[in-house]
Symmetry: C2
Subunit: 205 residues, 2 copies
């Protein structure tokens, strides 16, 4: 029997410890912001000493990198799941995707996290690269959704409109968080957004 398997406490495996650290880092980023994301606060939240955190991640940048990968990966998977379960027609899947993104934005944590990510990416090349990767895949996926719904759009136009859609989503996220937004009636806004997506995908003018 290997040592790892023999552990009484499964939460003490090395991978589980790393997971705890990433969870702690995410929680701090969401609840207290990037300015308070220090090796010490992460360690404290993870229930360990600062020195011990360095045993699992040599540098703070390694923690950030891992946390980022974990989060973006999950976000991408969540959206993909929504799309696949969205319905039979391409149009239904498009609207399911929009609903998925909007639902994600309902959670203050998600908005917070992404706002902090933008802040971090502004001057951290590693974070910036990861964000680019994420949005690049995000964008390609939306382009395909638009094309699936209306082949007549043509790829260049679909690419432009996908970019506008994503920009609008991200812009909305800025205004949602952290406190109740700029007196925007979100539900009505979402209907408007669905209608807008409809024209974006149908109008080939």
């Amino acid at each position: 029997m290997t040592r790892a398997a023999a552990r009484r406490d499964a939460s003490r495996t090395s991978t589980q410890r790393r997971e705890t650290i990433l969870e702690a880092a995410t929680a701090i980023l969401v609840e207290e912001g990037h300015a308070r994301l220090s090796t010490r606060t992460i360690a404290a939240r993870a229930g360990m000493r600062a020195g011990n955190l360095q045993y699992y991640y040599r540098a703070k940048a390694d923690v950030v990198r891992a946390m980022l990968g974990r989060y973006l990966e999950r976000a991408a998977r969540a959206i993909e799941t929504r799309i696949s379960a969205g319905g039979a027609t391409a149009q239904a899947r498009l609207h399911a995707a929009i609903d998925g993104v909007l639902a994600d934005q309902e959670s203050p944590e998600s908005c917070r996290f992404f706002r902090e990510l933008w802040a971090l990416a502004a001057h951290d090349p590693a974070v910036d690269a990861a964000m680019r990767d994420f949005y690049s895949g995000y964008w390609r996926r939306v382009v395909e959704l638009l094309l699936d719904t209306n082949r007549g759009l043509g790829r260049p136009r679909a690419e432009r409109r996908a970019a506008l859609l994503i920009a609008m989503f991200e812009g909305l996220m800025l205004f949602r968080s952290p406190r109740p937004p700029y007196a925007l009636p979100i539900p009505a806004l979402e209907k408007e957004l669905h209608a807008l997506a409809e024209t974006l995908v149908l109008d080939a003018c």
Copy 2:
């Protein structure tokens, strides 16, 4: 003769000294980011000692507040100027406003500055309040522009669509900066955006 007028070097008036400080702070925020915006770096860039900076602004927050007010005020005035000079018809003024915002986004400094502002606002109540003020006025102005172009829209719908427009603008800014963006063909994108604004303001469906 007053003291200020008697100064040999006009750049040594108290107000001019403060202006120098705010310029230095803005430059640092744009070129090096909010993480490097410290009282010491600001003072160094303004050509004075850290202690002297505190003579003009008691706390770092005061510098940030003043810099923010200065910048947002200018931004608001620039857009307003564009609109007034935009043309005779309401529709021409709307498109002039869009061009103005897009032109502002062309400058990397502007994108940088706003990205850093969003980062600061995330956990600085004063910055957050100032941003809210700015976007609140921005939003109201766009609502009026939409209503001027097409009375038939009705205020609630105009408010929603103005919000979507602004969200799209701010979202685009995120993707523009700091480095060449996500392979987005910006000129074509801007045409698309004008067309989209057209449907937003005309379609009353």
